[in-house]
Structure formats: C-alpha cells, structure tokens
Symmetry: C2
Subunit: 336 residues, 2 copies
C-alpha cells in the first residue's frame, strides 16, 4: 500500500517594533493555524528578541500540531519578515532603528535555536507578497504595496516576481521626496512621504491645526483635552463621526499619498497599488480623494491600468507574506 | 563547399520632435553604418513624417550597402523609438504632443512602405537600452536611464530586462512630483521634475534670476541682452567660463535632479543611473553636486550600490537602443 504523502507546514513571523506576530500555514497556503502575537520588548536586546521569536514559533508549532495530525518534522521552515535594510544572502538585519539593532544575524539565530531552516526578508516586502498571494493584490503582475503605520514601508512585485533591487533596499517608498523643501524626516531627508502620511505624521498635523486654529473639532474632547494624546486613530474616529477638521486632515493625507502613488504609477506603471495599515480604517474618506489626486497627477494610461485598493489581510499580511517568501526562497513558487 | 553565412543588418530610428536620426548596425551590434539625421517637420502631418522616416531609412540602407557587401535582403528590420505613450503591441503612438499625433499606427506605416518588419518603442526606453547595451550603463542589472532635453524621459532595466510596465508607460521619471505645491508642468501636474530640470526649465530659471537680481553675470551678454534667447546651452557655456549665476543655476539643477534620482534609488535600488542629454555638458559642475544631493537624500545601501554616470553615446544612444529593442522584440537578446 502506497503511503499517503504527509502534509507539510511553514511558519511565518512578522517582527515589528512593538509586536511579533506568527502563524503557521499548510505548505500550499490553503490553511492557516495558530496565529498569535507577543510584545517585541526590544529594550531587552537582540538576543532576547530572537529568543522570544523562537518561543513564539514553538507555541505556533504546538498549536498547529494540536489542531492537525502534524508532527514536528512536518514543519519545513520559518520565513521571517523584519524591519530595516538587510543582507538577505547572509540573513543579517543591517540596521533597525526601532529595534536598536545593527548587523544582527537574525536568520542564523533562529535556525540554530529552532533546528529548522529560516529565511529573512524585509517586513514591507512580506506584507506586499502576502497581499499579492492571498489578499487584495491577487492576480497583479506589477504590484506596489504600501504599509502605513509608524513609518511607511513598501514592496514591489515586478513582472510577477518580488523585486529586491541591487542591494535589497528596493521599495522604500516612504522615503521618496514629495516636497523638496518640506518637513524634516527622521531618515535625515526633507519632504519624504513618510513625514506627511505616516501615523505619527497624521497625528502631528492634527495637533498643528488644533493649536493654530479655533475650531469646533471633536478631536480635543476625544483625548480629554490632552492634544499630545492624539493619534492617527483618534483622527479616523473623529472623521467617521463627521468631524470637519478630522476630515480635512484625512483629505490632506490623501493628497500626500496621492502624489506618492502617482509618482509610482508614472515610473512603475503598476496594475495594483495595495495600501495597508491603520490608515485604511479611514475608508472612502481616504480612498476617494486619494484616487482623485492620483488621476490629477499621473498619466492617464498609467491611471487606467491600475486599481488602488486597501489591503485585505489586516494584521496577517506580514505573516502570510513571510511564509510566501520562504516558499520563494526555496524555489517553490506561489502557484496554487 | 559550405556557403558562408551572410552578415545581417538592423536599422535604428530615433524620432524626435525636432530631428529624426537613423543608422544601421550589424545584427550583433559590433558595426555601425550610415548614421544620418533630417528635420522632423511635424507640421507637415503624421503621414509626411512617416514618409520622411522611410526616405531616411532607405538612405541609410544605401549608405550601408556602399560601405559593405550587404544586399538589401540582408536588412532584417527597423527598430523605431518615438516619443509619447504608445501601444507597443499594436505599434501605435497614442499621444505625442510635440508631434501633434494621436493614435498614429507608425509601425505598420513603416513596415508597409519599406517592406520589412518594424518594431516600436518609447524613445527614452531606446536611449536607456542603447546606453545599457553599448554605453555607460554596460553591465548594469537594474538601470535607470534619464534623458534630459526639451523634456525629461526615462527608461528602466529591471533584473536585466527592459521594463515596460502594465501599459507601456513605465519610466516617466520626468513626471514624478518633487515639490507637491511647486511649478506647473505642461503635463498638467504641479512640481514635476521636468518643470525644474528640463532644458527649457533651466532657461526659465536663469531668466527669473536675471530679472530678479542685479548681478554681474555673463549671461545677458551671451545673448546680446535678449533674455528670451537664453537656453540651457547658454547657461552651460557661462558656467564653463566661471559665471557665478550660471553655476548657481547648474547647482540648483543638480539639487532637483538629485531629489529625483534619490527617489528612484530608494524605490528601485538601481546599480546604474545614466543621465543623458544636453545637461551632461555641464560636466562635473552638475555631477559633483548631484551626487552629493543623492547621498544626502537616499539610503546608504542604495547609494553605495549605484554609480551615477553621464551617457556615453551622445546623439546615438536612441538609434543604438532602437536596434536593440528590435533584437529584444524578436527574442534575439543582447548577448555578444
């Protein structure tokens, strides 16, 4: 009697400055198991974070084994998405300011501690590949992914392949200049898209308006008058309740993002632009003026070729994409 | 006795708003013949321009036959580079404002009149491929090409392939926003790179400075006091003679181009950026501050991966690249 071929599993890890998220998927991507999250606690140092990742992955493996008939040997590896420029070949995170890391060999640490192969890629690349494999960018051939949170990350699918560029830095969309003499960005440059449209930048612009102008905005009341407590989330909440000032801030965000997206359409001529992260909670209040701004700024054949959509995998795109990059790294492709 | 394999030839055409340039190359690209140029005379209409192209190509073929032992049947086709967005599959120029064209089936006109196969691609794509095949971008894997003249065109080589994007619009680098609220561009957008760093934009900035400021600049004397006669060339000439105002204009140009190039490095992570066109006549006066601006604005691993160089094929990159795109279209590759 021929033995039935056993199902295999891959674990995905999304390492952020605040949280680590992990989950397992069947090798073909059709089943998801044991998604869980812990705090990153970067102040404990890089080795401690690596230990936390390993512990989280062990937990995911146990959960998955409990939910299936999988054995430990059925887990073929771990894909990891991490912030910052990296050397994929050596599996090293070169710089990650939010983690305080410099030249940390994350991939090999995980491989050693877990005893299974690991791969390393940029977190925004992973989120983009996740949306492309199983989310809102499915079917795209040339995809731009943007993840808007504390910063603005990006990833590019070109001619149906994840594009890393000449030194693994491709896709740093947040750090493209949209205003030559504009706001200072923490990258050192002036006028980066991130300095206008990231979560903290949205909150900063809200505070600036409230300090500058007399208005009947809801915003101060939502934070008990403590303007320094305003976050991008506060702005989305107020916008949903019809607050005029909050809506103006969201429309300005749409204008900044629209310029950034138009730049990408005129250079890349993508067929899908997928925008993920907290900002998508603003819904049509953001996406309608964003699309209008893109139409104003980009060439018509570029606009007509592209759909601009919110991400469909909030919270999990990075994990799904980390599994996908493990597959790609092993030459397994992403075909169904 | 085995018959010796006959050498084959390809003709390249670079169609511009002012001139048409054409030349023949041996199929392998090692020999160039009969480079010649005529005025475009677009005011005579699209069909007349097509006739002029055909006449020019016939002349190139005769010149080449005179210089070699080629027969007419040894010419296997014509690659054409033309401005504007196009539909490559149908061989149609969709819009070319400088020519006054809309939906003109240039490729088929040329094929019909010449009786040999033709291919059509964007002129800036051709110039980029020309520099990549035989010029300053040789050996690059991810190349950004910029051609600065009346406008700013661009082309992208990605993973060793000319990248056209999802609707043949990729590479419109001149129309990326570097100043959200900036100068009006003739594309309708505000703050495009082209509105600051094209030839006419350089001349405009020079005139603005001369009108605004008392200065001891050479510039007015170079145009007999007729400020409206100033061109980008006037500015380069004065800069070479040490004129402070002209040098300031070139440095500003470097700053604008630097922002545009930094954006491309942070998104594409290219290994070569090749800048061609009149602006390269400014030499180190332009390239030294341009490289400094890029270092200030782009991520270090992106800067370190890239060389930023002037084009090496002034006047002929478009023709060489048109021959190359014919080869690529026929699946002949660009290997030596």
């Amino acid at each position: 009697m021929a033995s039935k071929k056993r199902k295999r599993y891959i674990v995905g890890v999304d390492l952020g400055g605040t949280n680590i998220v992990a989950g397992a998927m069947s090798e073909d991507g059709s089943e998801h198991y044991g998604m869980r999250s812990i705090s990153t606690s970067p102040e404990q140092g890089a080795e401690a974070v690596a230990d936390r990742i390993v512990g989280l992955v062990e937990g995911v493996i146990l959960d998955t084994m409990a939910a299936t008939d999988a054995h430990r040997r059925d887990f073929i590896g771990v894909g990891v998405g991490a912030p910052g420029p990296m050397d994929r070949e050596r599996g090293v995170v070169i710089v990650a300011p939010n983690l305080g890391w410099r030249d940390f060999p994350l991939r090999d640490r995980i491989t050693e501690h877990l005893g299974m192969p690991a791969t390393l890629d940029n977190d925004a690349n992973c989120a983009t590949v996740g949306e492309w494999w199983q989310g809102a960018a499915k079917g795209g051939r040339n995809v731009v992914g943007m993840t808007i949170g504390t910063g603005i990350g990006g990833g590019l699918i070109i001619n149906g392949e994840l594009f890393h560029g000449s030194s693994d830095v491709a896709g740093e969309i947040g750090h493209t200049t949209i205003d030559l003499n504009g706001r200072h960005c923490k990258c050192g440059n002036y006028g980066c898209l991130e300095a206008y449209a990231s979560g903290p930048a949205i909150a900063t612009r809200a505070r600036e308006i409230l300090v500058r102008e007399e208005s009947a905005s809801l915003l101060p009341s939502l934070v008990g008058g403590q303007l320094d407590q305003i976050t991008a989330q506060t702005v989305y909440d107020a916008a949903k309740r019809g607050d005029a000032v909050a809506n103006e801030i969201v429309r300005d965000t749409a204008r900044y993002l629209g310029a950034g997206v138009a730049n990408l359409l005129n250079t890349f001529n993508a067929d899908v632009v997928v925008i993920a992260g907290g900002v998508t909670q603003a819904g049509d209040t953001l996406f309608v003026p964003l699309q209008a701004e893109v139409r104003r700024r980009a060439f018509r054949p570029a606009v007509e070729a592209a759909r601009i959509v919110p991400g469909a995998l909030p919270g999990t795109a990075g994990v799904v994409g980390a599994v996908a990059t493990f597959r790609l790294d092993r030459g397994l492709g992403l075909g169904s």
